[in-house]
Amino acid sequence: MSKQENIRNFCIVAHIDHGKSTLADRLLEMTHTVSGREMEEQVLDNMDLERERGITIKARAVRLEYIDKEGQKYAFNLIDTPGHVDFNYEVSRSLSACEGALLVVDATQGIQAQTLANGYLAFDAGLEIIPVINKVDLPAADVDETRHEIEEIVGIPADEAPCISAKTGLNIEAVLDAVIRSVPAPKGDPFSPAQALIFDAVYDSYKGVIVYVRMKEGTLKKGQTIRMMATGAEYEIVEIGYLRPLGLEQKESLEAGEVGFLTAAIKTLSDAQVGDTITTAEHPASQPLPGYKKALPMVYSGVYPADGSHYGDLRDALDKLILNDASLVFEPDTSVALGFGFRCGYLGLLHMEIVLERLEREFNLDLITTAPSVIYQLQMTNGQTVMIDNPTNYPPSEQITAALEPMVKASIILPTEFVGSIMDLCQDRRGVLIDLKYLGPDRVELHYHLPLNEIIYDFFDALKSRSKGYASLDYELLGYEKSTLVKLDILLNGEVVDALSFIVHAEKAYPRARRIVEKLKDNIPRQLFEIPVQAAIGGKIIARETVKAMRKDVLAKCYGGDISRKKKLLEKQKEGKKKMRQLGSVEVSKEAFMAVLKLDE
């Protein structure tokens, strides 16, 4: 048990690729927690093992021990934060577990959107922020300019910011010393009723949920009965202790100021929600720690097995996935076109990509997903308000008196040379420019209000391609605004394909309809019969293309009695047909469904 004055709880915040994990690795080495060789071998081995056991990739927090030049022994708790806007809420909970934050800035790139977004979050959480200038060893590093930007844009003094190279290990001690000097020691009374903040949790198939906690007040002991203050559920602590780089270190208790883990035979992650407060059943705290929110999905899409017979596999995979992804929600859904599948809800677009990638990679599934949708709010003629996330459920327009769509406040940081092109993009996506700020001679921050449904398709990809990868994006939800929405249906051979319907702003309906029918035309293979591809609003056709009938598919030569080649060819064709979805008389490949999701290419 460490004295509180010798504990430092901090996190590292940075824009993606600015060196957060490299710095974390160096800190592990410097504190002799793990040797260089062990870094390579044991930590990785440990990760492999964890992976096999279904735990998410890397420990989200680690306790390091450090002896400074005066021989004083410190316990550092380094808490990791997810780096993306979709996980802002998780980030804010991780920050609440700390007293300080290292704000790492790449000296070759300067401040980026996530540097700012995460920096502000750290401010809001009341953390002491220590700027760290990284990658100073690179020829393109501009330390003075970076220092200047930190002071000007973030608004914190940077003259004492350690200038380091996390890659080469240059000046890492300065970071450790700054942590001791500047991050306040935790406060909190070990004898008060317990309040432990859940800042992360992972699922382990042997132990159940491993809950990562920051003890704010009081003490938790092994064997104690605890209570989750948001849900009221009670459990008995089975294990408690510190999070060490090479595994869990068992202790008898955790005290105010400390960071560690506990297990209590908790079966699913939804029973240990990030942001909830743990107290004891015997002496419960009078109120939970502030800031708990239930993470709510913002984006929905249909997910179907490419081969309809794999529905059961998809269901099993989703059941397993939610064990360690509490933010994912799903319910069964059926589509005339795609058969049985699920409607899934995600925190955002990145979260959606992660979920789909994990389903395909970890569970070896081949999936078809439908266009992502946000949640629309419809006021109906009968006075009701309904929330719609699935175009299939969109009511006929005459029953709707008003439609509202979610808006976001977006911050985009980019080099000045791309401003024109990015402003065009934002305008095209119905964005309203709120503010344009020069961050330096050649960098600009744009503030836009944008409809969420305009950025969930391919906005991020378009942003990256139009700025050669330099633009960075951060956004947060603003609320709902009135809008003119229509449901656009796609018809193949005269029949509506429900899986291709989506809700769109009236002004965008025509250009999007055109692009979709063109994309479909290019991605539906020519077949025996001509196929009209149409887009319609409420029965009125607004765009049409035609997939011409195929004309040639013949193996003319079949000679000397060798029919095996022809047989093989037909077998291959039959296999190919199995991979196609039969929609009425039209065969549609997975690629055609997916092409509709990338209209900006």
Partner: protein, 365 residues
Amino acid sequence: MNKLGLYIHIPFCRQKCQYCAFYSSRPRPQDISRYVKAVVRQLDSYDEDLQDYHIDTVYFGGGTPSLLSEGDMAQLMDAIRRYPLSEHAEITCECNPDSATENKLLSYASLGINRISIGMQSGQQDELRALGRLHTHEKTAACVAACKQAGIENISLDLLLSIPHQTPDSLMDSLQKAVDLHPAHLSVYGLKIEEKTPFFLDPPPMPDEDTEWEAYQNTFAFLESMGYNQYEISNAAKPGFESRHNNKYWKRDETLGLGPAAHSFFKGRRFYQEADTAAFMQGNKNIVQEPPLTARDILEETVMLGLRLKEGVDVTPLSPSPQTISFLEQLEKEAYCTYHKGVLSLTRKGFFLSNTIITSLLNLI
């Protein structure tokens, strides 16, 4: 007595054509006579089996069978005649215009060969050169004349579509030149870039689907207007001159193939000789048996092969479901087929889409 078609593969060519994926190599001295002896040995190895049959078609294919000297051919024909050979057997030999001399054709005819299939390919010099052919159109015409001189009237000409440099005009010109030679039969194949051919490594520009479609439709429409009925996807003939040997393949009649890479359908089994001429000449059997045919295999073969023929397939024994029948009616509406009294037959438009039609149909039955 069962009828049997005999196929003899001659795996030698003086020069490999740019597009050809058939098994052949350049013969060294003595190769051909050694090869002929090996074929005779293989034929004799079927001695007992052949007693139940009489051979009513013989087909010398290649490679370049016309590389066989009169003596080589005589040895083969003598060997074949030791088995029951129908008096009116169709005996075909493929010929390259440049390797078939008048004398050779005279002796082939005297040995009983009564049908010659000539690899004309094109009537245009630039197209022939692009294909890597050694002959000229004059040679083709001379070869046809030599056949007739030798008393062989049943002549077939092979032509190619989609040759590099071919235009609609040059194609029509080649077709006219072919018809002017008054063959009894014409085979017209689309050039296809096959793996392991020179064209595969260095592909020539290929026409698009629509151009190929036009060429195909125009070709057979033209031939029909000249009295050649298209009786199969790639073949047209004057009435009564359809290739009896090739028809055996489409109708699943029995055929026995001799020589490397030759395929057989004999006594209910499909098998083939491995494509290794040297091993074959050393007397190695290297027969590869295809898996025994299931009832489903037989059904699929019947449909797949039968639909190559204009006369089509009687699908009544397959008891087509209402779904199948509606599919067939849809095909008929698009003029891809005719479906009458249970007999399904593809139109020219349908022939050019036969793979897709067959797979769709087989998925339904």
